[in-house]
């Protein structure tokens, strides 16, 4: 247990700093609240793992990992991949909205210019 102490401290400090930074962005109204929920839950999960490493030991032996830290890596990689997947869906939606919006602006302008020419 003691050899894992450093990594546990790193996890705790890292997740607390991340949470503090995210909340700072909320404070200055730089981010929408729904987009912070994932990161805060992520920090909370890391904190739980750091304070109760027994969970990682238990899950690692259950799933046959050599070392509990591998379990932590797998969980983090999976969560980040999932987040990446949803982000890419979101970017794609933003992309199509931007396209429709640009088309709409251009169509409106054309209509305006046509009305001006008709007068």
């Amino acid at each position: 247990m003691t050899d894992q102490l450093l990594i546990r401290i790193c996890l705790i400090v890292g997740s607390l700093l991340t949470a503090a930074y995210v909340l700072r962005r909320v404070r200055h109204a730089k981010v929408q609240i729904e987009d912070t929920v994932f990161w805060l839950l992520f920090c909370a999960a890391m904190l739980v793992l750091a304070f109760f490493p027994g969970i990682a030991y238990w899950a690692a032996s259950l799933l046959g990992f050599q070392s509990p830290i591998n379990f932590v890596y797998i969980v983090v990689i999976f969560l980040l991949l999932a987040k990446l997947f949803f982000l890419s869906i979101r970017v794609s939606q933003l992309d199509s909205r931007l396209r429709i919006l640009t088309e709409q602006v251009a169509l409106n302008q054309e209509k305006q210019e046509r009305e001006k020419m008709d007068l």
């Binding site: 909340l23 700072r24 909320v26 404070r27 200055h28 109204a29 730089k30 981010v31 929408q32 609240i33 729904e34 912070t36 929920v37 805060l40 839950l41 909205r97 429709i100 919006l101 709409q104």
Partner: protein, 239 residues
């Protein structure tokens, strides 16, 4: 009497919108209204144009928060003293607008049309979320809001300007809790609500659980860290 703008956000409400606006016109022709079509895929916008309703037609779907903010910006730009949300599905009855406006004029910042002020909230699964949100607001602000999820809310000029220009000001209970914490006066008026006239609500079981979770996290944890900006004035664009 103060000038009130009624904002009617509408997303795929072709079956209800005509009945709702006609009812509003018959009941309270003294108030102005505007329908905000939130990029509907049905004939909502066409019907509004055909009937000559005042319409803001968003080219893409922004969701309720975006549609409502559009309406509030319209109110702010056009010099209205207060604004309110009226749902396009017929749940909000126009006869309660007058008592809500009276309450607002007595010096409230926000007036909520509440289903459970004088009526006991039923202890059903559907109301569980409402209980959780009420309890969260009670815990964090010390104020009792009987019907925090009611969409029928009226805002005074200060609130209209604040909602119109800021991020994280969706018309949701977490914004209400944040504003109470920052000194806004929130009052409730007992109203009755009908069932939606036609069509389906977008709130499925999974979505409502998601919504409750988001609201609970937001009210209990995140709202503490927000800072209210009352210094920046609303940028006048229309003068």
């Amino acid at each position: 009497m103060s000038r009130l703008l009624i904002v009617i956000p509408a997303y795929n409400e072709e079956k209800n919108i005509v009945r709702v606006v006609d009812e509003l016109n018959r009941c309270c022709p003294q108030y102005d209204y505007v329908v905000v079509n939130d990029g509907s895929r049905d004939k909502t916008a066409a019907l509004c144009r055909a009937h000559g309703y005042r319409l803001i037609d968003l080219p893409v779907n922004l969701g309720l928060a975006g549609a409502f903010q559009t309406g509030l910006r319209y109110a702010a730009e056009n010099g209205y003293d207060c604004a309110m949300q009226l749902d396009a599905d017929g749940q909000h009855r126009p006869e309660y607008i007058a008592p809500m406006l009276q309450e607002l004029e007595r010096g409230a910042d926000i007036v909520i049309g509440s289903r459970f002020l004088a009526v006991k909230k039923p202890k059903t699964l559907r109301m569980l979320g409402s209980y959780i949100i009420s309890w969260s607001i009670r815990l964090t602000t010390g104020r009792a809001i009987c019907d925090p999820t009611s969409g029928m809310r009226m805002f005074n000029r200060t609130m209209v300007e604040e909602f119109a220009q800021n991020l994280n000001y969706g018309p949701e209970p977490d914004t209400i809790s944040y504003l109470i914490k920052n000194g806004a006066v929130v009052k409730e008026v007992q109203v009755q609500m009908g069932e939606r006239l036609a069509g389906h609500s977008y709130l499925t079981m999974v979505k409502s659980v998601q919504y409750m979770l988001k609201m609970a996290i937001s009210i209990l944890l995140i709202q503490w860290f927000r800072k209210r900006d009352t210094e920046t004035p609303y940028p006048e664009r229309s003068l």
